[in-house]
C-alpha cells in the first residue's frame, strides 16, 4: 500500500543547527490497516507525515503509494489521494465559511473548480445526512460559520471533510490532542467509524498509548528517526508499551493517563 524507501532528511544542512531526522528509513504500511505511530517530540513523526503528504521534500528516498511513485507530485496533487487531519482543529476547515460552504468545497475535491455556483441546493439533504452521522447536530447548523463551532465540532467536521472522497491514505496527526478527554474520545470513535466504514488505510500519530492500542491494528514506535518497535496491537499490552517507551530515557516518562 504505502512504501517509504531509504528515506533521508536533514534540517538546516551545513549549519550549526543541522539536524538529521531520517537516515535510510524504511516503512511499509498495509492496505486497510490503521497504524498507530508513537514517539517523543522530535522523533520524526510529523516530519514523516509532512514528507508523505508532500508538505516538505526529502533529500533521498522514495514514497510509493499503491505502486505509484508520488515523489514528483506537489502537496496539492497528492491531496487527491491522501487525506490529512491536523492537530489544530481550524487547519482542516475554512473558519469564515459556513458548514454548508465548507462541506460543498470538500465535496468538489479532486474535481475541477469552475465558475459555476458552489452551493447546490439539491445536495443539501445529502450533506445533512452525512453530517448527521457525526451526532453533533451540525446538520441543523448548515449556515453557521465554522469559527463559531467548538474545537471538537470543528475537528469532527475536518475529519468528515478529509474522508468524504475516501482517500487511499489518511494521515491523522495528533488530531485529538487539542481536545478535552470527553470530546477526544468522541472524535476517536467517529474516526474509527469512518475509517472502518470506508476501509481507509490510516496512519495515526498519537501520544495517547491507550488510544493508539485501542484504535490501531499495528503500533510503530519511533526514536531519533528509527523504528524501535513494530508490533500488532493485539500482541502487546499497555503496560509493556509504556515500559518500552520509558526505557528509551528521553523526555518525561509517559504514564498510562497520557
Amino acid at each position: 500500500m504505502l512504501n517509504v524507501r531509504n528515506l533521508s532528511k536533514t534540517f538546516n544542512p551545513g549549519t550549526n543547527y543541522e539536524l538529521r531526522i531520517f537516515n535510510e528509513f524504511n516503512l511499509h504500511i498495509n492496505k486497510g490497516e490503521c497504524t498507530g505511530i508513537l514517539g517523543a517530540n522530535g522523533c520524526g513523526k510529523t516530519t514523516l507525515f509532512n514528507i508523505i503528504s508532500g508538505a516538505i521534500r526529502q533529500e533521498k528516498g522514495l514514497i510509493i503509494l499503491n505502486g505509484k511513485n508520488i515523489d514528483n507530485l506537489k502537496e496539492n496533487e497528492r491531496a487527491r489521494f491522501i487525506g490529512r487531519v491536523h492537530q489544530n482543529p481550524s487547519a482542516g476547515v475554512s473558519p469564515s465559511l459556513t458548514i454548508l460552504e465548507n462541506i460543498s468545497l470538500s465535496d468538489k475535491k479532486c474535481q475541477k473548480f469552475t465558475l459555476r455556483k458552489l452551493i447546490n441546493k439539491h445536495k443539501t439533504e445529502a450533506y445533512k445526512e452525512i453530517l448527521s452521522t457525526l451526532d453533533l447536530g451540525l446538520e441543523n447548523k448548515l449556515n453557521t460559520e465554522v469559527k463559531y463551532l467548538s474545537g471538537g465540532q470543528r475537528q469532527s467536521l475536518s475529519l468528515l471533510m478529509a474522508t468524504m472522497n475516501k482517500p487511499e491514505l489518511l494521515l491523522l496527526d495528533e488530531h485529538t490532542a487539542a481536545l478535552d478527554p470527553k470530546t477526544s474520545r468522541l472524535v476517536m470513535e467517529k474516526t474509527q467509524e469512518l475509517i472502518k466504514t470506508h476501509s481507509i488505510t490510516t496512519m495515526m500519530i498519537s501520544h495517547n498509548v491507550r488510544d493508539a492500542l485501542k484504535y490501531s491494528d499495528r503500533i510503530i514506535m519511533l526514536d531519533k528517526g528509527e523504528i524501535i518497535l513494530d508490533v500488532r496491537s493485539s500482541q502487546i499490552t499497555e503496560k509493556e508499551l509504556l515500559s518500552i517507551y520509558n526505557s528509551r530515557n528521553y523526555g518525561s516518562p509517559l504514564s498510562e493517563a497520557v
Binding site: K74, E75, N76, E77, A79, R80, G83, R84, H86, S90, A91, G92, V93, S94, P95, S96, L97, E101, S104, L105, S106, K108, K109, C110, F113, T114, L115, R116, K117, L118, I119, A162
Partner: protein
C-alpha cells in the same frame, strides 16, 4: 450643500470601486498589497494614453481594468515566484509603475478636457451608480462560484485549499489581478471625472481604500448578512462625505490628507472604545471580582 453632497457621492462611488479592489486583497486574501498606490494612477494614465490613441471612452475605461490586472500579476510574481515579502512586492510594483506612468504619456500631468468621457451626455452620478452596481453584482456573483469560494478559503486557510487538491497560489494570482484591475478602473473613472491624470493622484490612496473598509465595517457591524462589497461601497461613501463636510465647514483643501487620517483614527478608536465592548468588559470584571 447640494453640490457638496453630489460631489461626495460621485467621488465616493469612484472610490467604492477602489475599496472593492482593496477588499479582495486586504480582507479576503489577507494580503497587504501596496501596489494600489501605483495602480490607481496607472489606470488614469492608461486611460489618457488610450483615449488620446483614438479609443472610445468606454473601451479605454474597460482596457484600463484589463491592463491594471497586469500590476497584480507583477506583484504575484515578485511575492510567490521570487519569494519577496508581500508588503515589499507591492511597494516594488508601485515604484515600477511610477516610472511606467510617467513614460506612458511622457509627462506627469495629462489634461483630458479635450477628450470625451463616459460621463458625457449623462449625469456622472448616474453613470457611476451603474458602474459601481455592475462591479458589485459581478463581484458578488463571482464570490459565490466555486473559484470565488476558493479565493475566500485561500485567505482563510491555505492548508485547506491544498488539501482540496488545488494550488492556493493560483487563487492569490486571481485575487491580486482582479483587485489591481478594479483599482486601475477606479483610477480611469477618477481621471475622467476630474479631467486630468496626475502622477501624485495615487499618493496615500491605500489609506482611502483601507479607511473605506474600516468605516463600512464599523457602521455596518451589526448587519452581518451584508456582503463585503456593500460594506466597501457604504464605507467609501461615508468616508468621502465626512471629508467633504470638513472642507465645507471651513478647513482648507490642503488639510484633506490629515482629515482623512483623523477620520480613520476616529473610526478605529471607536472600535477600540466601543461602548458595547466596554460594557461587556466591565461585566466580566464584576463577574471575576465576585468569583474572587
Amino acid at each position: 450643500m447640494n453640490t457638496l453632497i453630489l460631489t461626495s457621492i460621485e467621488q465616493g462611488l469612484i472610490f467604492s470601486v477602489l475599496a472593492i479592489g482593496v477588499t479582495i486583497t486586504f480582507k479576503i486574501l489577507d494580503f497587504a498589497d501596496m501596489s494600489v498606490e501605483g495602480t490607481f494612477p496607472f489606470g488614469a494614465f492608461l486611460f489618457a494614453k488610450l483615449i488620446s490613441g483614438g479609443f472610445t471612452p468606454l473601451t479605454s475605461t474597460l482596457l484600463s481594468f484589463v491592463f491594471g490586472t497586469l500590476a497584480g500579476l507583477l506583484t504575484y510574481t515578485l511575492n510567490i515566484k521570487l519569494k519577496i515579502k508581500a508588503l515589499l512586492s507591492g511597494i516594488l510594483t508601485a515604484t515600477i509603475l511610477y516610472t511606467i506612468n510617467l513614460r506612458l504619456n511622457g509627462k506627469s500631468n495629462v489634461g483630458l478636457f479635450s477628450y470625451s468621457s463616459i460621463y458625457e451626455g449623462f449625469e456622472p452620478v448616474i453613470i457611476l451608480i451603474l458602474m459601481v452596481f455592475g462591479v458589485k453584482i459581478l463581484m458578488d456573483t463571482f464570490l459565490k462560484t466555486e473559484v470565488g469560494y476558493l479565493l475566500i478559503a485561500t485567505g482563510d486557510n491555505e492548508t485547506l485549499v491544498k488539501s482540496l487538491g488545488e494550488d492556493s497560489n493560483k487563487y492569490k494570482l486571481i485575487g491580486l489581478m482582479i483587485s489591481n484591475g478594479l483599482v486601475a478602473l477606479s483610477g480611469a473613472l477618477m481621471a475622467q471625472y476630474q479631467g486630468f491624470a496626475e502622477i501624485t493622484m495615487g499618493t496615500g490612496i491605500i489609506v482611502v481604500g483601507i479607511a473605506s473598509i474600516i468605516v463600512g465595517d464599523t457602521v455596518l457591524r451589526k448587519q452581518r448578512f451584508l456582503k463585503l462589497t456593500t460594506r466597501a461601497i457604504t464605507g467609501a461613501l461615508i468616508y468621502k462625505f465626512i471629508g467633504a463636510l470638513a472642507i465645507d465647514l471651513g478647513l482648507a483643501p490642503t488639510d484633506l490628507k490629515a482629515i482623512n487620517a483623523i477620520i480613520v483614527i476616529m473610526f478605529l478608536s471607536y472600535n477600540t472604545f466601543n461602548p458595547i465592548k466596554m460594557k461587556k468588559a466591565d461585566e466580566l470584571k464584576v463577574v471575576e471580582e465576585v468569583k474572587c
